[in-house]
């Protein structure tokens, strides 16, 4: 079944949009918030705060982004449970293996592990300092290097007279590549047009320039200095960058010149303008195709064989890192160049978890080996698999309730304990239980204890009875005066009554209600009760 535009519009209408850190309350009890994950504009990690536990859904996150707002890990601190669902390392790992297998003449250079896991950990183990060190670190430098490498390859191709085709994958990468390539072209003094051919190019680019609140700090700084957030605004104005909805757009034909640099969907190489352009250029060895990691290049290029075009495949960060390998390989197949960057490091996960201090971490089963639970004492690890329910122990036996502030008379019991009966109404608001005590005064009869405990001190009771002018004779049943035996007080003054005292019960029989209630008071005053 194919969805109509109306269906899509209908669906989108139902979406409630949120800002980062905006609270939305579901059903009075769950407070849901989104925080930036750094991967792309608007990508989020979610927290769900309920009366029972606070949950973080941690998705693929990037500490320092060159376009989107950075990973806001601070706001995830202190939640009880982390549902870890950053699968980026899983894809990364398999990708590397496949590439190694695929090429017989692998020409790999193994870079040294960039970090020593133990060295930057002198910050009393909370990981905060380490996390901070990740900012401005080699991580983003590597990303810049990758972009620079792609730029240099593109410039090389263009100089040779070949065009460059970049299927659109991650938006952030496209935005940065547009900026970088145009800079490189300018510094090489090349007048080569850049085209973005996509039905949504105009909307997307206009959009990226009106969302400063969702961007990284460097971009926000541009807002404050009154510059456009992305360079594409000026590039379009200067007619260096051209946007067209489709290859057959009439204006495109007028503008078209080769060599050129084209961004276009779809990364699968099966749909969109990219198919036409690949057909056109696949036989030209001067041309360059830039693929992102995650695409099976062999398979994707199958319909375009024989491929003479150079192919550059590059992986960009798409999540928190797990592995220890910085893997850089360059190999050839089908007369093309495949360049693989694979950066996998485990070391970001553990300091992150140490800093977030969850009580439970739920990890995908596939990461059981990658992330050993042994060296964290703070959290318990659980591993989940698809289609299986995982039971997590409950954390709190109690709800936290707020009590509105006036108190009814309470009862002091032991030295340091105080009890009070509460009567009122319970509200559940914004994830909080609020107990508002009733305003009407409780009548005196209601303040009589309903519940008693402890054993009754006979002498004290007789004293209290005498204070109330009640006299009676004590009859111990049996010879033992043990606590289990019943003891009777025959009251004769002011009226007849019988008090039967046992270890854990007392029975008052009286025909006279006033007397009965006086005796009840006396008994109550001797026992603990509420």
């Amino acid at each position: 079944m194919c969805l109509s535009v109306a269906d899509v519009k209908d669906c989108v209408q139902k979406i409630k949009t949120l800002k980062y850190a905006e609270e939305v309350c579901y059903n009075g009890t769950l407070i849901i918030k989104a925080f930036s994950s750094g991967l792309e504009i608007g990508t989020s990690n979610w927290t769900i705060n309920g009366p029972r536990r606070n949950i973080t859904c941690l998705s693929s996150s990037i500490f320092e982004s060159a376009h989107a707002m950075n990973f806001d890990y601070h706001s995830l601190q202190g939640n009880d449970l982390i549902l870890f669902s950053d699968f980026s390392s899983l894809h990364g790992t398999t990708g590397v293996c496949k590439d190694s297998d695929a090429s017989s003449n692998l020409h790999a250079c193994q870079a040294s592990t960039a970090y020593d896991c133990s060295s930057p950990r002198d910050d009393n183990g909370n990981g905060e300092g380490f996390i901070k060190s990740l900012f401005n670190s080699e991580e983003s430098l590597e990303e810049m290097e990758k972009l620079a490498f792609i730029c240099s390859c593109a410039i090389d191709s263009v100089k040779e007279g070949g065009s460059v085709l970049i299927p659109i994958g991650h938006l952030g990468i496209v935005l940065q590549l547009v900026e970088q390539i145009s800079l490189s072209l300018e510094s090489a003094n090349l007048k080569v047009p850049i085209f973005i051919i996509s039905t949504i190019a105009e909307d997307i680019l206009a959009f990226t320039n009106v969302v400063p609140e969702w961007l990284c700090e460097q971009r926000q700084q541009k807002l404050y200095s009154g510059e456009p957030l992305f360079a594409h605004v000026e590039l379009i104005k200067d007619k260096k960058l051209h946007l067209f909805p489709a290859v057959y757009s009439p204006n495109l034909l007028g503008m078209w010149q080769e060599p050129c640099i084209v961004f276009s969907p779809h990364w699968s190489l099966r749909l969109g303008p990219v198919v036409h352009l690949l057909r056109r250029w696949c036989g030209d060895q001067k041309c360059l195709l830039v693929l992102e990691q995650g695409v099976d290049a062999d398979l994707a290029l199958l319909p375009f064989k024989p491929m003479k075009m150079k192919v550059l495949q590059c992986s960009f960060r798409c999540g928190i890192k797990y592995g220890f390998l910085l893997h850089l390989s360059r190999h050839y197949f089908h007369c093309s160049t495949v360049l693989t960057f694979s950066v996998c490091r485990l070391q970001q996960v553990q300091p992150l978890l140490e800093m977030l201090k969850p009580k439970f971490v739920l990890l995908p089963e596939e990461l059981r080996l990658q992330i050993p639970s042994s060296n964290t004492h703070l959290s318990s690890f659980f591993y989940y698999t698809e289609n299986e329910t995982l039971r997590v122990p409950r954390l709190r036996d109690f709800f936290e309730a707020d009590l509105a502030f006036q108190f009814q008379p309470g009862r002091l019991k032991e030295e340091n304990k105080c009890l009070a009966r509460l009567k009122g109404e319970l509200f559940i608001e914004h994830g909080k239980h609020l107990f508002v005590l009733g305003k009407e005064p409780v009548d005196s009869s209601q303040s009589r204890p309903l519940l008693h405990w402890g054993s009754l001190d006979l002498n004290l009771l007789l004293k209290r009875l005498r204070e109330k002018g009640i006299n009676g004779s004590v009859e111990q049943s049996g010879s033992d005066i043990g606590p289990l035996n019943a003891c009777l007080i025959h009251v004769y003054e002011p009226n007849k009554a019988l008090i039967e005292i046992r270890a854990m019960s007392t029975i008052i029989s009286a025909a006279d209600e006033t007397l009965a209630s006086l005796i009840f008071e006396a008994v109550s005053s001797v026992l603990d009760g509420i």
Binding site: L18, K19, E23, S75, E202, A206, F207, V210, P212, E213, L223, Y224, D397, F398, E400, A401, D402, L403, F405, F407, G410, R411, N416, C418, L419, R421, L422, G424, E425, L426, F435, G438, S444, S445, S447, R448, L450, L451, H452, W453, G454, L456, K496, L498, S505, T506, I507, S509, A510, A511, D512, E513, T514, L515, A516, S524, S525, L527, G529, I530
Partner: protein, 728 residues
């Protein structure tokens, strides 16, 4: 906040009632630092418009809302008196943070002075647009002060830059955790781009400071929007405390008509405005209108300021109205088609012209320059903003229709041009303020940013119409209001569940309960009311150095580790049954009575079980709502038991029928054989009002005495029985 052992106090109630000798009134005080009140110190905009600045102490935090300057003063009165915050001048220690609502100078004008000259280095919050646009306003003002008035500057360009570096930008609705206790959130306020109302919450105390706001959308901005919040305090602007405005569109049409007429007649239109806000609104309005005109005249904007401002507006379009927002991809509304920069040499060029020039109130600068040239011609038009500070030319033009204006002792300007005063304002009117106050229903309202007499009248309305205490303090006054504080307690599942369960009560009321003493036909119509009060009950446990706990009654004893001591009340009384023929056949058929209905005089002694059963039948009839259980040796309803007394020494067994008579004034029918048995009524663990109950069995009477006990006596709620003693 936890309950510390030394922070709560108990007070004995000196009540005469003996019952309450052990009852204590519990008062809880939370932490010595948290004074249970909110203090609002008005440093500016108290009974005036200008230098908005309120310092609110709430839950141990101190927040400065706005840090504005007064445009009407040049002396010390220009800035808020910051010495009232801290005598020592250690503002970092005194203040938790500063919140700026929008970029107008009467709200942000003193900020660079406060941070760079007074030395405040703590956090400052404002929205993204305010952070982007405030420096422009500040720089523009600084230039005017220094270059045009030749005054010594209060702060430099660098000061502005350094000051803005300290600012944290926030998005709308983003919940910002300033520290562990203080949470703030911005809400859309309309008024100008990026204007926000701010919500602040510490513990259970919460407040909103509105800044300036507009409850109706204009050409480029939406209306103010806020959630329904539980608030102790609302501090609201009250510029138009008594004005009620009609449709904005009519006023806009008036403006357009005036401009059109002037331009069509070949005249020149001077629109003095500030660079930001009104300028963009009018640009959109004119640009839009010009679209529909055949021969549009170019709209000129003087200086780079407004052109540059438009650049900001383009990027911040998501802060404008929905209508403007929706079109950003195809054409950004701030990409004006008919607007261009003004060439100042063309000031006296012939032909029609529309010109935006700063400043807005013609207090100097280029707008004054142009005014001097254009005012003498009756073909020309000058528009004036809705509000002009006294002393400015704008203010002089507004008050009456002067034909000559003395600029200084040497210069006099002939005023023959037309004057059009813009009557639309980015401030809410009185209705909008009332609507907001009503919507938020805070516990207290403070009015700022208004004129004293109008504020007094609005205060009266808020107090009388909405019943909310309202204040409008003068500058340097402080208002103290109590704040909400809750006791945090751990509540058990069982307690919470018991609270959430529907709590139906079946109330029976009978129409003629007072008609006679004790007899009432069981078939009489009984009205059953169902009430779901959701009155929840629980027990609060306070313990030294432990968090308060709320449990359900059933959980208390195990939690305390003690055993229940049942205090039962019992009463034995003889019950006489007579008139057995009145027992209906259907009752008998269901009973195990072996009676011959024809021989009433030979009624046999009933067995104990039969006795109970008979009672059960009777009571079930009388009390259909009550869930009476017939058990082997007793009947039970909730905590109430009825059994046949097995004690041979029961002191009441020998009670005579005459005793009953004397007590109740009722006799068993003497003509019939009566049979009596001692019934024991026992209640377990009850807190029961002492009432007499008479339950007829046949025409006999039994009288459970003092032991009748209960919020529920056989399902009859005390409330229903009430004070009029139950006579069934």
């Amino acid at each position: 906040m936890g309950l510390e052992g030394d922070t709560w106090q108990e007070k004995s109630l000196a009540a005469g009632n003996l019952l309450q000798t052990k009852a204590r009134k519990v008062q809880l005080q939370l932490g010595s630092h948290s004074a249970m009140e909110i203090e609002s110190l008005i440093l500016g905009a108290g009974q005036e418009v200008g230098k908005s600045c309120v310092v609110v102490s709430i839950g141990g935090k101190k927040i400065m809302f706005d840090c504005g300057m007064h445009m009407g003063y040049l002396d010390h009165r220009r800035y808020p008196d910051f010495s009232l915050i801290s005598k020592s001048g250690d503002f970092d220690k005194a203040l938790t943070c500063i919140i700026i609502t929008h970029f107008h100078l009467d709200h942000v004008g003193a900020l660079p002075y406060f941070t760079e000259v007074c030395g405040y280095r703590g956090p400052i919050y404002m929205t993204y647009p305010t952070k982007a646009l405030a420096p422009m306003m500040l720089e523009d003002y600084r230039k005017v002060m220094v270059e045009r008035r030749g005054e010594q500057e209060q702060f430099s360009s660098d000061h502005i830059v350094e000051c803005m570096k300290k600012v944290t930008a926030v998005d709308l609705k983003q919940t910002v955790q300033v520290d562990n206790d203080l949470q703030i959130r911005a809400y859309y306020a309309g008024h100008v781009l990026g204007a926000a109302m701010f919500y602040a919450k510490v513990g259970d105390s919460a407040m909103v400071y509105t800044g300036d706001y507009n409850m109706t959308p204009d050409r480029h901005l939406g209306a103010a929007q806020i959630d329904r919040l539980r608030l102790d305090l609302l501090i609201t602007e009250s510029t138009y405390a008594t004005t009620v405005r009609d449709s904005k569109y009519a006023r806009e049409r008036e403006f357009l008509k005036a401009v059109h007429k002037c331009v069509a007649g070949g005249g020149k239109v001077l629109i003095p405005t500030f660079a930001l806000g009104r300028a963009q609104e009018l640009c959109i309005l004119l640009d839009d209108y010009w679209e529909r005109m055949t021969r549009p005249v170019v709209i000129n904007i003087d200086g780079g300021l407004t052109i540059q401002a438009n650049m900001y507006y383009k990027m911040l379009i998501s802060w404008t109205s929905q209508k403007v927002k929706d079109t950003y991809a195809t054409r950004n509304a701030f990409d004006f088609k008919h607007v261009c920069s003004f060439d100042r040499s063309l000031i006296n060029a012939p032909g029609p012209c529309v010109l935006f020039a700063t400043p807005g109130m013609i207090s100097g600068g280029f707008s004054l320059e142009v005014f001097k040239q254009w005012a003498p011609s009756e073909m020309n038009l000058v528009t004036l903003p809705g509000y002009c500070v006294a002393g400015t030319i704008g203010h002089k033009l507004m008050s009456g229709k002067p034909t000559k204006i003395d600029l200084d002792k040497d210069t006099q300007i002939d005023v023959r041009c037309q004057i059009h005063q813009l009557s639309f304002s980015p401030h809410t009117d009185a209705k909008g303020i009332m609507d907001l106050v009503k919507f938020l229903s805070p516990k207290h309202v403070i009015l700022v940013h208004g004129e004293k007499p109008k504020m007094a009248s609005l205060k009266g309305r808020i107090q009388s119409e909405l019943g909310i205490p309202c204040y409008y303090p003068a500058n340097n006054d402080a208002v103290h209001i109590p704040s909400t504080q809750y006791v945090k307690a751990d509540a058990t599942d069982t307690f919470i569940r018991s609270c959430l369960n529907p709590n139906f009560e079946f109330l029976k009321s009978s129409g003629e309960s007072n008609s006679d003493l004790g007899f009432k036909d069981s078939n009489a119509v009984q009205l059953v009311q169902i009430r779901d009060e959701r009155v929840a009950q629980g027990i609060l446990i306070l313990e030294n150095r432990k968090k308060a706990k709320v449990v359900h009654q059933d959980e208390l004893l195990p939690m305390l580790g003690v055993e229940n001591h049942e205090v039962k009340s019992a009463y034995c009384c003889p019950v006489h049954i007579s008139n057995l023929e009145q027992i209906k056949p259907n009752e008998l058929s269901r009973s195990n009575l072996s009676l011959d209905p024809s021989s009433r005089k030979n009624a046999l002694p009933l067995s104990k079980c039969s006795w109970l059963h008979l009672l059960f039948e009777k009571l079930s009839n009388e009390l259909p709502g009550g869930d009476i259980q017939e058990l082997k040796n007793h009947l039970q309803l909730e905590s109430f038991h009825v059994s046949v007394c097995s004690n041979d020494n029961c002191p009441y067994k020998t009670l005579e029928v005459s005793d009953i008579k004397s007590d109740t004034g009722l006799y068993p029918d003497p003509c019939l054989h009566a049979y009596s048995e001692v019934l024991r009524f026992e209640s377990r663990g009850g807190n029961f009002p002492i009432n007499w109950l008479y339950v007829p069995i046949g025409r006999g009477v039994f009288k459970p005495s003092s032991a009748e006990f209960g919020p529920a006596w056989f399902g009859m709620k005390c409330k229903n029985l009430g004070s009029s003693s139950p006579r069934l």
